[in-house]
C-alpha cells in the first residue's frame, strides 16, 4: 500500500498538471483574442471578427476547464496539505486571497460579457471586456507565481514558534526568483497558445478550408512563435542562472553533475544512476555547463554530492529539463520553417501543415516538463528551507486519498479526450461554414466598409 504522503503528492501533481494545461493556453490566447478584436475595430474587416468568433469559442471551452480544475486546487491545500497552511498560511493565504479578489472575479464577470454580450454592449465596451479578461488571467498568473516563487526562494519573513510571519510584503511578492519565473511562464503560455493556434489553423487548411481566416490566424501564430521562442530561450537562460544562485542543487540535478568540478561538461544525454551516484551513457560537450552557468569555461559548478540527503530525485529533473529544452528547439525550428515558407516561398505545403498539426500541443509538453523540473527540483522541501513536503501532508487515511485519486484520474482522462476531440470537431465544422454569414452582411452594410472586404 502506498503511503498517504506519496498518494497526496501524486494527487496534487495530477490536479495541477491537469489544471495548468488550460490556463497556459488561455492566459496568452486571451491576448491573441484582444489583438484580433482590436484589428477588427480598427479595420472593420469581417475576417478579423470571424477569427475572433472561432477562437473565442475555443477560449470559452478551455477557460471552463481551467476554472473547474482550479476550484479543485483551492481545496487541495486544506484537504491534502494541512501542514502547509498551518506553517506558511500567513504568507500563502493573502497571496491566494489577492488572486481570487483581483483576478478571478474580474475575469469571470467580464467573460460573460465577452462571450454573450457582443450585441448587448457597445463595441468598445466589448473590446474592453476582452481586455479585462486578459488582464485578469495575467494577474492570476502574477499572484500564483509570486506564491510559487516564494516557496522556491522564500524572502521577507521571520519564523515565530514554527509559523512564518511576513515582515516585508514587497520582498515576499518580489522574491528573488519571481521576476524570472513570471516572465518564463508567461512566455511559455505565449508559445503554447501560438502553437495551439498554429496547429488548429493548419488542421483547418489541411482539411480543405480555403477561407482567409485560418490563413491569417496561422500567419499571426507563426510570427508570434518566431518572436517568442528566442525571447524564451534568453529568459529561460536568465532563470537558470537565478536558480543556479539560489538553488544550486536543482541545477546540479538538471545538469546531472555529481561531483563539484571546474569546467563542467554539458550532457546532451545520459542516464543518471542515483544508487551508484554516477551517469551511464554520457554524451557530453566539454566545459559548456560551466560556460553557460558561470560565463567562464573553467568556472566551478557544485555537484549533487555536496547536498547528499537534501537534493531532489535526479532522474525526473534531469530528463524533464531535456524534454523542455528539446521541445523548445523543435518549436524554434518549426517557427523558422513556417516564416520562411510564408514570406520567402509564399506557399504552405502539406508537409508543413502536418508538422504544425503535430506540434499543436507541443506547448503543453514543454510547460509540463518545465513545471516538473522546477517543482520536483525543489524537493525534499515544500517551502525551501522552511517546510519539508513530508511534514505538510495530511493525516487522513490513505484509502480515502487513493479513492479520490482514482476518481479524479478517471474524470480527467475522460475530459481530456473530450476536449481534444471537440477542438478538432470545431475546426472541421468551421471548414464547412460559408465565407460570409448573413448577419455579417448586415454589419458590413452598417459599417459601410463592404467594398473588398469579402476576400
Amino acid at each position: 500500500m502506498l503511503d498517504v504522503v506519496l498518494l497526496s503528492r501524486i494527487q496534487f501533481a495530477l490536479n495541477i498538471s491537469f489544471h495548468i494545461l488550460f490556463p497556459t493556453i488561455t492566459i496568452a490566447l486571451c491576448w491573441f483574442l484582444l489583438y484580433f478584436k482590436v484589428r477588427f475595430d480598427l479595420s472593420g474587416h469581417p475576417v478579423w471578427m470571424r477569427i475572433y468568433r472561432f477562437w473565442v469559442k475555443v477560449f470559452a471551452l478551455t477557460f471552463a476547464l481551467g476554472v473547474v480544475s482550479g476550484i479543485t486546487m483551492s481545496f487541495q491545500f486544506g484537504t491534502n496539505w494541512p501542514g502547509y497552511m498551518e506553517t506558511v498560511g500567513n504568507i500563502a493565504g493573502p497571496l491566494l486571497g489577492y488572486e481570487v479578489m483581483t483576478a478571478f472575479f474580474l475575469e469571470a464577470t467580464f467573460l460573460g460579457i465577452m462571450l454573450f454580450g457582443m450585441h448587448r454592449v457597445p463595441q468598445w465596451l466589448h473590446t474592453l471586456s476582452t481586455l479585462m479578461v486578459a488582464v485578469g488571467t495575467t494577474l492570476s498568473a502574477f499572484w500564483i507565481l509570486a506564491l510559487n516563487s516564494w516557496m522556491q526562494t522564500p524572502d521577507g519573513f521571520v519564523m515565530q514558534d514554527g509559523v512564518a510571519h511576513a515582515t516585508d510584503w514587497w520582498a515576499v511578492i518580489f522574491n528573488p526568483s519571481f521576476p524570472y519565473r513570471f516572465f518564463h511562464t508567461l512566455l511559455a503560455s505565449g508559445l503554447t497558445a501560438s502553437f495551439f493556434i498554429m496547429g488548429i489553423s493548419a488542421y483547418r487548411i489541411y482539411r480543405g478550408d480555403a477561407k482567409l481566416a485560418p490563413k491569417i490566424a496561422l500567419r499571426t501564430a507563426v510570427i508570434a512563435a518566431l518572436m517568442l521562442t528566442p525571447t524564451q530561450i534568453l529568459v529561460g537562460d536568465l532563470h537558470g542562472l537565478n536558480t543556479f544562485k539560489h538553488q544550486p542543487q536543482k541545477v546540479a540535478a538538471m545538469e546531472g553533475i555529481w561531483d563539484t568540478e571546474k569546467g563542467a561538461d554539458m550532457l546532451l544525454f545520459a542516464i543518471p544512476d542515483e544508487a551508484q551516484r554516477t551517469n551511464h551513457f554520457e554524451i557530453a560537450i566539454p566545459k559548456l555547463a560551466s560556460l553557460i552557468l558561470t560565463h567562464d569555461p573553467d568556472g566551478e559548478v557544485k555537484g549533487l554530492n555536496e547536498f547528499i540527503g537534501a537534493h531532489p530525485p535526479v532522474k525526473p529533473v534531469f530528463f524533464g529539463f531535456r524534454v523542455m529544452v528539446g521541445m523548445g528547439m523543435l518549436m524554434l525550428l518549426t517557427a523558422l520553417i513556417g516564416c520562411w515558407l510564408l514570406y520567402v516561398r509564399k506557399t504552405l505545403p502539406k508537409q508543413f501543415l502536418m508538422l504544425a498539426v503535430a506540434m499543436t500541443f507541443s506547448g503543453w509538453i514543454a510547460t509540463l516538463a518545465g513545471w516538473y523540473v522546477t517543482e520536483i527540483g525543489r524537493q525534499p522541501w515544500l517551502v525551501s528551507g522552511v517546510l519539508s513536503t513530508a511534514d505538510a501532508a495530511t493525516q487522513i487515511p490513505a484509502g480515502n486519498v487513493a479513492l479520490s485519486l482514482t476518481l479524479y484520474a478517471t474524470v480527467y482522462v475522460f475530459l481530456l479526450i473530450a476536449y481534444i476531440k471537440t477542438l478538432f470537431l470545431m475546426a472541421r465544422r468551421s471548414v464547412e461554414i460559408e465565407e460570409i454569414q448573413p448577419e455579417e452582411r448586415l454589419t458590413q452594410k452598417s459599417l459601410r466598409t463592404a467594398q473588398g472586404a469579402s476576400s
Partner: protein, 332 residues
Amino acid sequence: MIPDNLLPDIFAALMALAILMYAILDGYDLGVGMLLPKDNVHQRDVMIASIGPFWDANETWLVLAVGLLLIAFPQAHSLILGELYLPIVVMLIGLILRGVAFDFRAKVRQGRKERWDLIFKIGSFLAAGTQGFMLGLYVMGFEHSPVSYLFALLSATGVIAAYLLIAACWLIMRTEEDLQIKALGWARKSLYFCMAGILAVCLVNPLVNDSIFYKWFAAESVWMLVIVPSLALLTLLLIWRALGDVRVLQDKYCLQPFALVVVLFLSCFVGLAFSFYPYVVPGEMTIQATASAPESLRFILVGAIIVMPCILAYTVFSYRVFRGKVTELRYY
C-alpha cells in the same frame, strides 16, 4: 485604525458574506441545472442560456469563501476540509462535470448533446447534495454517528429543495410562456420541501446541541429569537402567496418570488450564523483562537476594502447588461 482583536470578526463577516452570496448565486444556477427537463431540448437551451453569462462568477464566490477560510482561519480550514474530505471530492467532481458540460453541450456532435445535458444535471445534483450533506455534518459538529449522517441526508434534501426553489423563481423572472408556467409549478413543489427542511433544521439544531439551545433561549438574545424566525416565517408566507397567484407571471410581479427567496436565504443564514458564533468549528475552535497573524489579515484587508466594492459594482453591471427575459440563444 482597526484594533487587532476586531480583525477575526471582520474576516468572519466577510466569509459569511461570501458564503451567503455563493448560496444565492450558485444556488440558482445549480438549481437550474437540476431542473433541466428530459423531454424538451428547447427549454433546456433557454434555461442554460439564462445562467450562461453568470455561472462562472457565481462559482468564484465559493473559491473566495474557501480562500477566506484559508487566509483568516488556517487551522479551521485544515480541520474542516480534512473532516469533509470525501464529500468535498464528490462536490468538486460534480462542479467539474457541470462546468464543462455547459460548454461541451454547445459544441459537440449532434446526438451527444443529450449526454452532456444529463451530465450537467447529475453534476448539479452531486454539487447541491454534497453541499447540503456537508452543512449537516458541520451542524452536527462532525460527529460520526448514524444520527449525524441521517441529519446530514436530511440537510442535503433541504439544500437541494432550497436551490430548486430559488432556481424556479429565477426562471419565473427570466423566462416566458410555457417554461415560465412550468417554473411556477416547480417553485410551488419545491416550496413544500423547503419548508419541511427549514422546520426540521430549526427543531433539530437546538435539540441536539445544548449550547445552541441556551444561546437562542438566553435572556439577552430574546430579540433574535423573535426577529429571525418571524422574518423567515413571514417570508415563507409571502412566497406562498406570491406563487399562489398566476399574476406572478406578469412582468410587473415576476421579480417578487426571487427577491423574497433571497430574503428567506438571508434569514436562514443569519439564524445559522448566530447559532454558531463565535465558533468557526462548532464546539471546538473559536474565530479568535484560530485567526491568522494580524499583519497578514491587515495586508489582505486593505485589498478587500478596495476590491470588494469593485467586484460588487461590476457584478451589478453584468446583471444589468443581461437583464430582461432570455430570448436570444446566440452565444457569441
